[in-house]
Symmetry: C3
Subunit: 297 residues, 3 copies
């Protein structure tokens, strides 16, 4: 699988494996290791974490399951900034965000420890924080970078104005915005976020690239129409619906990087195979129109 | 009629004649020539086309009707990027956009041929394309410019974030954004598009400057109120409703350039005469308030 | 009370006293003077006016009530650009905006005369004007600045795109955007305005910092929930609801400057005391969540 450049120093695989549901999968260490080995064989070398995934458990499950020699082959994305109400964090009584210097630094160091790695390749602020102090975030990022604990930084779910406020405080460029994009969820095309990525020549990562799976038991007229279109195009390419949805993202000129949610190697392989599917412009728009429920103007 | 500068190299007439409905008018070549001659006599030297107008027919109707000597006096705006489902384009099965290098270059060259002219003065991307590759558009624009086939470039119906994404990829400045603005359609004042024009000292062109004519048989309370206000102000100036609507656009400090939709010389002359009508600031706001249906805050 | 820097030349008190309702209070000159003296004793040295407050009366009431020696200790913010329908302005027949060179200059000079002062510290455009000519505003601002009549300039209620259009025409930086922000009115967090302030390191001023007082007789479920949360947090800090609302604004990293609306010294003192209340990040979010009516995502 090809690599995609986030900047001059960092390239990652065209598809990223997400481990959001690692705790739910309830895999043995051996199974986790096999999953990661399987991904690497497919050319997927980048794994997407967050401190809070699995109620603060996934990073450690991941870290404990893998031998160091394997971890050295991986590129790790993780996130910080959300504070969940959780038995693991008894002082949280309301779900909130924390992008203070102290919390960012503490959280990144905690992620390193949990995963048993030397450095995070990309650290993202998980959600835009209405109480953010961009200068304080910048101070935390700079320290983590100087110490070699985090190599690159990005954000997730940021609107353009939020992105610009943070970027203005930094000496270096944010490398990505991880946002929800799929053939089902088109809002990031309409709110300026993908436009900003293109303005900055920055690749977005796409979470929930299959729209959370809702297409598979389509209930509404719009979803059924979309499903039919995906089926028809899939037939043209000898591909499944989910492969067409990946191909739809991969075709886009912004260089969208899908984050795979499944933990089943067969489905991950299907996603990897979708890299070879080349949708025509007109097929891309057929999906767009079905999803919008109306013709382009 | 005065000219308005789009940039240091290009000035066009304060009003532009649109030929969107040229095919519908079903004019003889002689009538088309008389229309164009009539416009020139009024000082209107700029004509607004698109490849798709009249189901891909208007450019050629225009080109074939006019002698070369006449065409040399005109400034030509045309557009590309929409692909209609049409008998003329049997390979289109869904209306979509195409802003690929190949299509832009092919479409511009096709427009030159259809109109029988050496160069397009301004080529616009007709609609924001969710599948745009700004770098590819930039490559097409640069080639067309270097070859002298297109002198200047702009867009149409672009939101600010879409405009900025494309502009960032270009070595030269886009010269206009052709958007829907009228006393009836105020949304471009609210979505930042006119603000961006003012930030960039760029003049917008206004399509549907009379709001598609809906005011003439006003049905809703808002439209009837607006019609009454336009009538009253018209009476102050010895002007018709449509003249007041043109004057309302012309008064605006952004230097809005209305695109006339009518093919009747009498109505075009009425528009041209509206250039002399000077609305007061308070009249301008009386129309704004009537159209909004509420007082300014 | 601490001061907050609007730029390298101007610092104002962390809280600003608004005199929007000065005419309604129906104070004697002596009472006005006592109010101002009382504010100064609390460290509040900045007063927020507009030409139109009190139907064009407040600036003069203020100016006539205060001895020059007292006025010299104050920093004055005032506004221009709205034209009210009023007996005092018989030529206004519709409420409208006027940001012409002539009106801005005339209005600023009139404010100086009405208040009996030598210079306005900060002059704001009161509302975004859909008929604005940024270059004309720039010319007016430059002249007023060169003449020493106005020291600094800002805006009020401007959206980011409107702010940028005006800023682009100016040789110097706007120093603030006075917008509606309170624990009840969160829209400026969502429309990019506070983000832009943070991008530009510019402090917003907050009008209606108590949300117009609607919380005090909360009627809706959302308002009652918010009131309960404010009460609970107030109890933690030995503070009243309104003090918690001030503290909520003051805690924000953007350096939000609340404009006090009350004319009662006891309530102004309560506001001043709120500067010492330090809300925790989690308390800040508890209020945010209650006001939004839903958990953060």
């Amino acid at each position: 699988m090809e690599q995609i450049k986030l900047n001059n120093e960092l390239s990652i695989s065209r598809l990223v494996q997400g481990v959001w549901r690692l705790a739910d999968w309830d895999y043995s260490k051996k199974l986790v290791e096999e999953l990661v080995e399987g991904c690497l064989e497919l050319g997927i070398d980048t794994f997407d974490h967050a401190d809070i995934y699995g109620d603060y458990a996934c990073e450690e499950l991941f870290g404990k399951a893998l031998p160091s020699s394997l971890k050295q082959k991986l590129k790790i994305v993780t996130k910080c900034g959300i504070k969940l109400v959780s038995d693991k964090r008894p002082d949280h009584y309301v779900k909130h965000y924390d992008t203070s210097f102290e919390h960012i630094v503490w959280s990144a160091e905690n992620s390193l420890k949990a995963m048993g790695i030397e450095a995070i390749d990309v650290l993202l602020i998980h959600r835009p924080d209405p109480f953010i102090n961009p200068n304080e975030v910048a101070r935390a990022f700079s320290q983590l970078k100087a110490q070699g604990k985090v190599k690159h930084f990005g954000v997730s779910n940021f609107l353009p104005s939020q992105f610009k406020a943070l970027q203005a405080a930094l000496d270096f460029k944010l490398v990505t915005n991880q946002i929800e994009i799929s053939a089902i969820a088109l809002h990031e095309f309409d709110n300026g976020s993908i436009d900003l990525c293109q303005e900055l020549n920055m690749h977005p990562m796409a979470w929930s690239p299959l729209g959370g799976g809702s297409i598979f038991n389509a209930q509404t007229h719009r979803m059924m129409t979309l499903k039919n279109v995906l089926h028809k195009i899939g037939d043209n390419h000898g591909a499944t619906i989910d492969q067409v949805m990946y191909a739809w993202l991969l075709a886009h000129p912004a260089g969208i990087i899908p984050v795979i949610g499944s933990g089943k190697l067969a489905r991950i392989k299907a996603a990897a195979d979708a890299v070879e599917i080349k949708l025509s412009r007109q097929e891309w728009f057929e999906i767009w129109v079905a999803s919008k429920g109306q013709s382009v103007p």
